[in-house]
């Protein structure tokens, strides 16, 4: 069964409430968004003329690849095996974790070093490995911060974005049991020293994947810190874990995607390191892993292929731009979404992969402003898919909703049925309009009746109730035409 590790999206409403009360968090998020968006804008401005056609191309490549996914995966497998990579397939999270565990056991590993990978967060790999008695250390600075804090990442590119410098400093001093300077540079250098030791003792290195290249059987992973290079250079064994959708057909496709993902995600022209892996160490090499494994994970992705619209979800290159632009994410951060994939992409990916019943609030947790669709480098119609999911939940979702959504639908469904019949009759529309205006007028003066009308009290909890001007436009129009006669 496909699942997302540690999912708690059914608590969205209360988790979001907590996040909103956290002023420090919201300040950190707003600053982070401002910075990443202005960097992104600047990076894209330099190639402004080409950007839209690049998006079209990237989207078309991904569309084609998904439509030919079976053949492309088999091609990748054949070529990867030729390169000496051992390819494994995992239908769901559980099998993927078991596979990795077995590889570690075969390698008689005691210590594992990891570089940042969302799919391993999705399947909860660290827990399984730790349960088997292995030491697991996350080596990306942000991931390490989150790991020692006992949290999950709150952003798919910047895992510790919800932390301030002060909170990280506290965490470091507590964990390391010694005083360290408070500036970002010194803290980073402390992390370097601590993690360098972990690299040197690791037996297995685990990475994610950004692109699987079908025609060459190689794969590419991006990073900025150098931790991934270490993860794939020092340990004896390299295990890469990839969602099956990460595939591109041609080596040359990388050019396009590499020119887009850095600009889109972090506002860099390109990420500092782009590592292309074509197999384990070859004879003249003195270093590099002796064994290289690729674990291809489905975990519910194939379910998304059946609908052309929803299939787009799998085009995602995990750049994080939609999180950076999202006005909802800006207020609540990543943890409130209750999934390792938060924000706009998370709100479409999580319910489809983990199941509607686990995350039925997420598709509604959006104002449908469309900013995510505008920035997405592969042109995923996120608002369109949100609407599609909303329809499924509202109209066919009985028995598949969490409690909060079930309550909402109990109120909303009959209300919209009434609304629909009113809106189909001008007479009923006029009468109900007059009633609504009267109620609004009263409500703009007093909150006495709020408790009978839950949406009204909800509105008033953060806003005053707008006072209607008086009369309807149609009445004024009628008076005007009569006067002109």
């Amino acid at each position: 069964m496909s699942t997302i590790h540690d999912i708690r999206s059914s608590h969205f409403k209360s988790d979001a409430r907590e996040a909103i009360a956290n002023v420090e968090l919201r300040g950190a998020l707003a600053r982070a968004q401002e910075q990443s968006n202005s960097k992104r804008d600047r990076a894209i401005q330099r190639i402004a003329d080409d950007w839209e056609s690049m998006r079209d191309q990237a989207s078309a490549i991904k569309t084609w690849t998904l439509e030919n996914l079976g053949e492309q995966l088999e091609l990748f497998e054949r070529n990867a095996v030729k390169n000496g990579i051992q390819v494994h397939w995992a239908e769901d999270a559980e099998n993927a974790c078991r596979l990795v565990n077995e590889i570690c056991a075969d390698a008689e590993a005691r210590s594992v070093i990891k570089s940042k990978s969302m799919v391993t967060e999705e399947i909860g790999l660290n827990h399984t490995l730790e349960a088997a008695g292995l030491e697991v250390v996350e080596s990306d600075l942000g991931e390490w911060i989150v790991q020692i804090a006992g949290e999950t990442p709150s952003h798919i590119v910047a895992p510790a974005i919800h932390h301030t410098r002060e909170s990280i400093h506290r965490l470091f001093e507590e964990t390391l049991g010694r005083k360290i300077p408070t500036d970002a540079e010194s803290m980073t250098m402390v992390a370097r020293e601590v993690l360098r030791q972990a690299f040197l003792r690791a037996d297995v290195g685990i990475t994610g994947v950004n692109y699987l290249v079908a025609e060459t059987g190689s794969f590419l992973v991006l990073e900025n810190e150098g931790n991934q290079r270490l993860t794939t250079s020092l340990p004896r064994v390299h295990i890469a874990v990839s969602g099956i959708e990460k595939i591109v057909p041609r080596l040359a496709d990388l050019d396009l995607f590499l020119r887009m993902i850095g600009r889109s995600g972090t506002g860099q022209v390109v990420t500092t390191y782009q590592n292309l892996f074509c197999g384990p160490r070859r004879s003249p090499d003195e270093d590099g892993p002796r064994d290289m494994h690729m674990v291809l994970v489905d975990n519910g992705r194939t379910k998304l292929l059946a609908s052309e619209k929803r299939r787009q979800t799998l085009q995602c290159i995990r750049c994080g731009a939609c999180l950076n632009i999202c006005p909802v994410y800006r207020q609540i951060g990543g943890h409130a979404y209750g999934s390792v994939y938060p924000g706009p992409i998370g709100s479409i990916f999580t319910p489809q992969v983990a199941g509607l019943h686990k995350a039925s609030q997420l598709p509604f947790a959006s104002s449908l402003c469309g900013a995510c669709k505008d920035v997405c480098p592969v042109k995923i119609d996120i608002p369109g898919i949100l609407l599609d999911l909303r329809e499924e939940i509202a109209e066919h979702g009985e028995g598949q909703r969490d409690q909060e959504t079930e309550l909402k639908m109990k109120r909303e469904s009959p209300a919209f049925r009434r609304w629909s019949s009113l809106m189909q009759s001008p007479r009923k529309y006029r009468m109900s309009g007059a009633l609504v205006r009267t109620m609004a007028l009263i409500a703009s003066h007093t909150s006495l009746f709020d408790r009978f009308i839950p949406p009204l009290s909800a509105w008033r909890s953060t806003r005053s109730v707008p006072r209607p001007e008086g009369g309807s436009f149609r009445a004024r129009w009628r008076r005007r035409t009569e006067a002109n006669r």
């Binding site: 499924e392 109209e395 919209f416 809106m423």
Partner: protein, 247 residues
């Protein structure tokens, strides 16, 4: 030019003066304005909440009505809301099961404009000889901006208003947090989103925040009032119609 005003339910019931201002502006541009009072709603509230069956019935009816008017020789349908105009633009997709209706919806969409889009792109008029003394900032309503590409049109119209100063806010294109039923399902998030904008608007020292959608304006106004701000929320039509007014 025969213009049908698609007034929208919110303007009809809550802000009729926006409808009146729209009529006056259109007449100033030489249009003959008509209004079919069988109009109700574009169907968006139900559509955006996932209740597509309920939405379809309403959308189909609205499309029939507007298509009929076009068939009788009407030229253009104009709407003082980017959001409702965008809904009309999406209608043919929603009605795809019913090919005849869907085709009708496509025809209606082709002849439907949001007000500022109509004035600038269709009528090629940017000077409405209006005047308004004061300072305002714009809020680009999401659906107009992203579904219909309305960004320059209101700015060009406002540039010609005598006595008016427009101060741009960096957050002008960030969502106000309304989002239909989102605003009552998640009032805290919705309110926080409004706050985020209002902070900047307040600090900019403007007299009013101006937008092309009444829904956003009610959200912003509701929050501005709740926080005792002196900034007003005005629809573009209400400002553009003025020939001699100030804050």
């Amino acid at each position: 030019m025969r213009v049908q005003l698609f007034v929208t339910c919110l303007v009809d019931q809550f802000r009729p003066s926006v409808g009146e201002a729209t009529v006056e502006i259109l007449e100033r541009c030489g249009c003959t304005v008509e209004f079919d009072d069988r109009q109700t709603c574009c169907g968006q509230p139900a559509f955006n909440s996932g209740h597509h069956e309920e939405a379809k019935a309403v959308v189909a009816r609205t499309i029939d009505l507007l298509a009929e008017w076009l068939d009788e020789g009407g030229d253009a349908i104009v709407c003082p809301s980017g959001s409702c105009s965008a809904m009309i633009a999406h209608s043919s997709e929603l009605l795809a099961d019913d090919p005849v209706r869907s085709e009708k919806a496509r025809r209606v969409a082709e002849r439907t404009w949001e007000l500022t889009q109509f004035l600038i792109d269709e009528m090629k008029i940017d000077d409405l000889e209006s005047s308004w003394k004061g300072t305002i900032t714009l809020h680009d309503a999401c659906h107009g901006l992203r579904d219909l590409g309305i960004r320059d049109q209101p700015r060009r119209l406002l540039a010609k208003v005598k006595g008016l100063e427009v101060k741009e806010c960096a957050s002008c294109d960030r969502c106000c947090g309304f989002g239909g039923t989102f605003s009552v399902n998640y009032p805290l998030i919705s309110g926080a989103m409004a706050d985020d904008k209002i902070e900047e608007i307040d600090a900019s020292g403007v007299d009013a925040v101006v937008s092309g959608d009444v829904s956003c304006l009610m959200q912003l106004e509701g929050r501005l009032q709740a926080t005792n701000s002196r900034v007003k929320a005005l629809h573009l039509a209400q400002l553009l119609v003025e020939r001699d007014a100030g804050s």
